[in-house]
């Protein structure tokens, strides 16, 4: 059974066993506006929780996407660089950024679940 967790920087991570899929949240894409450029990490890249993992650029701003947990990239979403609008259309589905093998699944305990994230977003008041 998969579990979905969120970071304060508005990444989501969906975990199935020791592999996980990462993207940015519906709220994040809404704040960024139309996304025009995405750079995803290459397979094999080592990620540290909280470290830079990918880049997303909209008509307003360029931002880093941070790794919600430590591990190694197993796949970057190759479809995104040519179709960055997918992140706007389906941020928590087809707009995923990369998949990774977790090296320390216990790190997930420090992240928010859906209810906690929803109230976090509500507290931002935007």
């Amino acid at each position: 059974m998969s579990q979905l967790r969120f970071t304060k920087d508005h990444e989501w991570i969906r975990v199935d066993g020791v592999t996980a899929t990462v993207g940015i949240t519906t709220y994040a894409q809404g704040q960024l506006g139309d996304i025009v450029f995405v750079e995803v990490p290459a397979k094999g890249k080592a990620l540290k929780a909280g470290g830079e993992a990918a880049v997303v650029e909209s008509v307003k701003a360029a931002s880093e996407v941070y790794a919600p947990a430590s591990g190694e990239v197993t796949e970057g979403n190759a479809a995104l660089p040519n179709a960055p609008e997918t992140v706007n259309k389906d941020p928590q589905g087809a707009g995923w950024f990369f998949k990774m093998a977790l090296s320390n699944p216990a790190e997930l305990n420090g992240l928010m679940d859906q209810a906690a994230y929803d109230s976090y977003v509500a507290s931002l008041g935007a």
Binding site: D34, V36, F37, V59, K60, A61, S63, P84, E85, A126
Partner: protein, 513 residues
Amino acid sequence: MNEPMITTSGHRALQIEQPLIFELDTGGSTAVDLPDPPKVRMRLGNLRNDKAIGLPGLSEPEVVRHYTRLSQKNYSIDTGFYPLGSCTMKHNPRLNEKMARLPGFADIHPFQPQSTAQGAYELMDTLAHWLKTLTGMPAVAMSPAAGAHGELCGLMCIRSAHDANGQGSRKLVLVPESAHGTNPATAALCGYRVESIPANAAGRVDVAALKAKLGPEVAAVMITNPNTCGLFETECIEIAKAVHAAGAYFYMDGANFNALVGRVRIADLGVDAMHINLHKTFSTPHGGGGPGAGPTVLSAALAAFVPVPFVVHDTKGYGVVEHAGHGAAKQSFGRMKGFQGQFGVFVRALSYILAMGVDGLKQASGDAVLNANYLRAKLSAELTPAFDGICMHEVVFDDGFLKNTGVSTLDVAKALIDEGFHPMTMYFPLVVHGALLMEPTETESKATLDQFIASMLALARRAKQGDQAEWFKAAPRLAPRRRLDETQAARKPVLRWKPSEATQAAAARQAAE
């Protein structure tokens, strides 16, 4: 409001719709009457052109009109108010241009014998003297070609100093969120890892967070002052002490020196290196109108690492130290630019400094701050300032005043074009939600500011009326072009003009004849 009238010509009154020059090709017109070329045997073999090269043929008046019309589409500080935050779009005094066009300056060449360029060296030395005097710093590197180049110069001096002191293992540079975006880029280019320092609720560096990150790994801290929120970093002296105690250097981004000239001596803040954007602070044209220049002032700790070439003088005259590794340049990190720097900008900047005098420079920085605070005070009637209290040379509002209106910062900016103003900077700094960053500069009159304020307040009031989202989304209405599709332009840019198929076929026929 009525939709703009569609004309038969496509022109809108005297705003002429101008195609690309390639599309104006009349096929064979020429501005020059050349004799027929002599008949010679073709010796290009397989390299001969198999079709026409496609240069447009136009008469001289057609070419003159084409480029004049294009030039009329420019918006510039000479045309109108240009409150683009973080850019210091102020008036460029014509005296500067007159001085830069003096033949002795305009026609000079970097390969001239040094004995024939003594006046130019004296000018650079005099400008260097005033930059050092205005900042209280003992040394300056003149050659950096722009602000970010100056940052790189400063960090290369810092890296060289650490290497010379056996501290080369320091690999981390700390940059606050309120710094210019070029700062982390510069540090990364210089081989450093970058870590961010959060801003506090007052929009300034969180000093406690900064101190917590200081350690034996930190090479430098880069702080923009005034920062990108237009706020003075009040804790600079304490920050400098902590940075130096940790064995690191303090870089200050001086792009916003315009707000400080004649009022803050940079050396007193404990700064080790700071670039000065001559093209902003000292009124030389920029933003497509001219090159930048980023002389970098250095503390005594870094002065020895200054890049070559640099001007020196003794009782016999001026000379240039060209090579690192010996003499006055023994510890220089080397060369970062081909020649002396942006000489034409030096002429303009010195002309400005001498024309203004110390009293004028001090008044200019004061007026820059006064004008920004006038906007802040007046616009606060309808807009929401991002931070409490007075600002420096620029003021930032957030989009709180647009909440629940369906109108965005972008929409307000587009509507401002219809009002005849260049929009403010939008969505920057990133730490402010939906930011509107305005920098009026000291060269605008109260009358101009009042016009702009009236337009901004009217737009804000309209947005707040409710049900105005559609009206805003349709702006600009009066510009040569309506709302451009920025998203599509970024996702699928058209970077190259290609002739139509008919034109290509005609060119092929022409070549075959």
